[in-house]
Symmetry: C2
Subunit: 135 residues, 2 copies
DNA sequence: CTACATTTGCATCATTGTTGCATTTGAATC
DNA sequence: GATTCAAATGCAACAATGATGCAAATGTAG
């Protein structure tokens, strides 16, 4: 499935910025940050355009945002996540890369009476295998 | 234990800003954001002073930061968390309050070979009991 | 009380999220 | 292919947060 297909499917206009974002995420096959995506895109888009493109793509559930912490947000294709929607994410403190941990589903946390959950995020921070070897 | 005791214990200078921050967190007995703490403090401290005070208090493990998402950080007394260090946190999308869910420990996620974890955060977002009634 | 290291306040900068508005562009229609 | 109009973009501008350098103020040990 090509970038244009994602846009057509949701009746979104085909703009180079949107296509580029989707293409970059597809090519990487692991979650990328906004700056990582920007670096790989030829077009020098305005920051606001980028911001709004992500917002649009997220609203149409084409991309999915993974919030690592208060200064790190990564984007992945929503399709890649829909099968096992709620799984933990591993963030490497060394190389800043994010891995989806699909081997285990997120535990269901029992909440106090009257509380209802809409979403649960599990973020594991540590050192990945390739960084372990580097050090 | 009073604010001064926490500072003395770590041989930190007793400044009104630090004392105020600790006092405010103790009084609230639930995690507070920087702005919530600022609002409750009489002294109109510089933003940088605030920022560095939190940093110092966190480095000495007097306070603990709970990162909810890319734009929400809450602070709690580290002592309140040490007993059951790793537990999930519930964030109410309505009133923005945070609750420690101490009834369940955080699950241990099996990681791929070579990966090592330093910390795991579990954030559950939803609606708390008191907000449910309000709506 | 003095001396000195620490802390504070201020200036300044970077990044991210956000909105308003004029201009440009995509795509449906003629 | 040209016309048209809603949608997307670029720009200006602002807020919040994180961060650093430096001179002035402050805490505390002696």
């Amino acid at each position: 499935m090509k970038p244009i297909d994602y846009l057509n499917e949701h009746k979104l206009k085909r703009t180079s910025c949107r296509e580029g974002i989707i293409q970059t995420i597809i090519s990487a096959n692991h979650p990328l940050s906004e700056s990582e995506i920007r670096e790989q895109l030829a077009g020098n888009y305005d920051r606001t355009t980028f911001y709004r493109s992500f917002k649009t793509l997220e609203e149409h559930q084409i991309v999915h945002r993974i919030i690592i912490d208060n200064q790190t947000v990564k984007y992945a294709l929503a399709k890649q996540l829909s099968a096992e929607e709620h799984h933990p994410h591993f963030f490497c403190n060394c190389c800043q890369s994010v891995q989806c941990i699909t081997t285990v589903p997120v535990q269901k946390i029992p909440l106090p009476d009257g509380y209802s959950a809409s979403e649960t995020s599990v973020i594991i921070k540590g050192i990945c295998a390739s960084c372990k070897d580097k050090i």
